[in-house]
């Protein structure tokens, strides 16, 4: 009888930290993140039969977490995606160009404080934030991210590069504020 829940523990709940982390990044609120993860896990358990053991369980769970989050946002009558994604995504082509001053990336990121990364991530509009988290932190492939977000792989790529660029810009600004980095304001 308890076989199914034991299997769920082994296959799904091992990803709880990652689920919580994603929920935290989406909600930006610990209590809400816990609620989202709890609801998502119960949903996942109820539809665990439909999960194909050969596929990426983490990506499947991320999809559920994200759906639960979006449903709650919609139910609360809140705006789902902050920022004008159209404008942001259209300018994504220039995203891959590195710092023109030629600061070695390695050096640059050594100047970045832990709290700054947190702050920059939180400030990122949701469409970019979720793509960046799934790729950079969770190491999902573009295809898996596209499945989680329900969008084409090309969109994942443009969101990722735009999101990273925005992150980098925020971090450079913070670094200048701290006096670690000189240069253009």
């Amino acid at each position: 009888m308890a076989k199914r829940s034991a299997e769920f523990d082994q296959v799904a709940l091992v990803h709880l930290d990652a689920l919580y982390h994603l929920a935290l990044r989406l909600t930006r609120n610990r209590a809400e993140a816990e609620d989202v993860v709890q609801e998502a896990c119960l949903r996942a358990f109820r539809s665990f039969d439909r999960f194909n053991p050969g596929t990426n369980c983490r990506a499947w769970l991320f999809t559920i977490v994200r759906n639960v989050f979006l449903n709650r946002v919609r139910r609360g009558g809140r705006e789902v995606f902050e920022g004008d994604t159209g404008i942001l995504e259209s300018s994504a082509k220039s995203a891959t160009s590195p710092e023109p001053e030629g600061n070695p990336e390695e050096e640059f990121f050594q100047t970045v404080l832990h709290g700054d990364v947190e702050r920059a991530l939180q400030a990122l509009p949701l469409v970019f934030r979720e793509a960046v988290i799934l790729a950079d932190l969770e190491g999902l492939s573009y295809r898996e991210i596209a499945e989680v977000l329900g969008c084409p792989v090309g969109t994942v790529m443009s969101r990722l590069s735009r999101g990273r660029q925005l992150l980098r810009e925020s971090l450079a600004r913070f670094a200048r504020e701290h006096g670690y980095l000189r240069g253009r304001a």
Binding site: H21, R30, T96, V117, D136, L137, L160, L167
Partner: protein
């Protein structure tokens, strides 16, 4: 691969999404170009620097608990669903019928139910007495009720006793009589302007109108006189009940005229 070609592929390369045919060339370029190698290192470092927070242990415990419970419910469900649905249906039926049910407990219906209930009891009377005056006095002292206890002995109906009861949520007098082994209940209930005796046939006997009704096999004769309602319930036939009613009415008239 040139530096600009490598830069154009940097994200894909670090993300491990570069097509296999290009990965070799990119590897080779990163191996010989320290600037591009630095970018790769920086990109990887940047990704690693994104802070991660572990799920609180309470959350884990809560989820495990909920999952176990969901599993138990899932196991029980096939047996639970049918009775649960039946219960819901029953509740719905009661709720829907409630307005209809609320109308049926007319005063007469309520009195018949009491008659049936006390007919089962061996000694239904609180005060066992064959003396009308004693019973009248008992009601006066006990509940402040001015009750006239009729004397039916000429018709062979014997007074047994009395008890205080409630009808229409008001204190009422309940008198017990017997004819042989047949019980006759006489209820004397303070009336209010709002209540009605209830449905039944209107029968005039010696110039007075009575409401008659058969409920659950018992015959009931009732009427309202001034601020008091009377109800007689028995298996006795209507003729006997009308006689009893008429006698009670006559006795009251006699008393008030004194």
């Amino acid at each position: 691969m040139t530096c600009s070609e490598f830069e154009a592929r940097l994200q894909l390369y670090v993300d491990g999404e570069l097509p296999l045919v290009e990965t070799g060339a990119a590897d080779a370029h990163a191996a010989e170009c320290s600037r591009c190698a630095g970018r790769v290192h920086g990109e990887r470092g940047f990704r690693r620097r994104q802070p991660r927070e572990a799920a609180p242990p309470e959350l884990r415990a809560r989820i495990v608990d909920h999952v176990r419970r969901a599993e138990r419910r899932a196991v029980l469900r096939p047996w639970l669903v049918a009775p649960a649905l039946a219960a819901i249906a029953a509740i719905l039926a009661v709720v829907l019928l409630l307005p209809a049910l609320r109308e049926t407990p007319s005063l007469v219906g309520e009195l018949v139910d009491k008659h049936i209930a006390y007919a089962q009891v061996e000694r239904p009377a609180e005060l066992a007495s064959t003396n009308p005056a004693e019973i009248e006095e008992w009601f006066r002292q006990r509940a402040g009720l001015g009750v006239l206890v009729p004397d039916y002995s000429p018709a062979g109906i014997r007074l047994v006793g009395a008890r205080l009861t409630e009808a229409r949520e008001r204190k009422a007098a309940y008198l017990f009589y017997e004819k042989g082994r047949t019980l006759l209940s006489v209820f004397i209930v303070p009336a209010s302007a709002t209540d009605a005796i209830g449905p039944g046939a209107r029968i005039t006997f010696r110039g007075h109108e009575y409401t008659t009704r058969e409920v659950k096999g018992y015959r009931a004769v009732s009427w309202t006189d001034g601020r008091v309602s009377f109800g007689l319930v028995s298996m006795l036939d209507y003729d006997a009940l009308f006689e009893c009613a008429d006698r009670l009415r006559a006795q009251r008239e006699h008393q008030t005229s004194l």
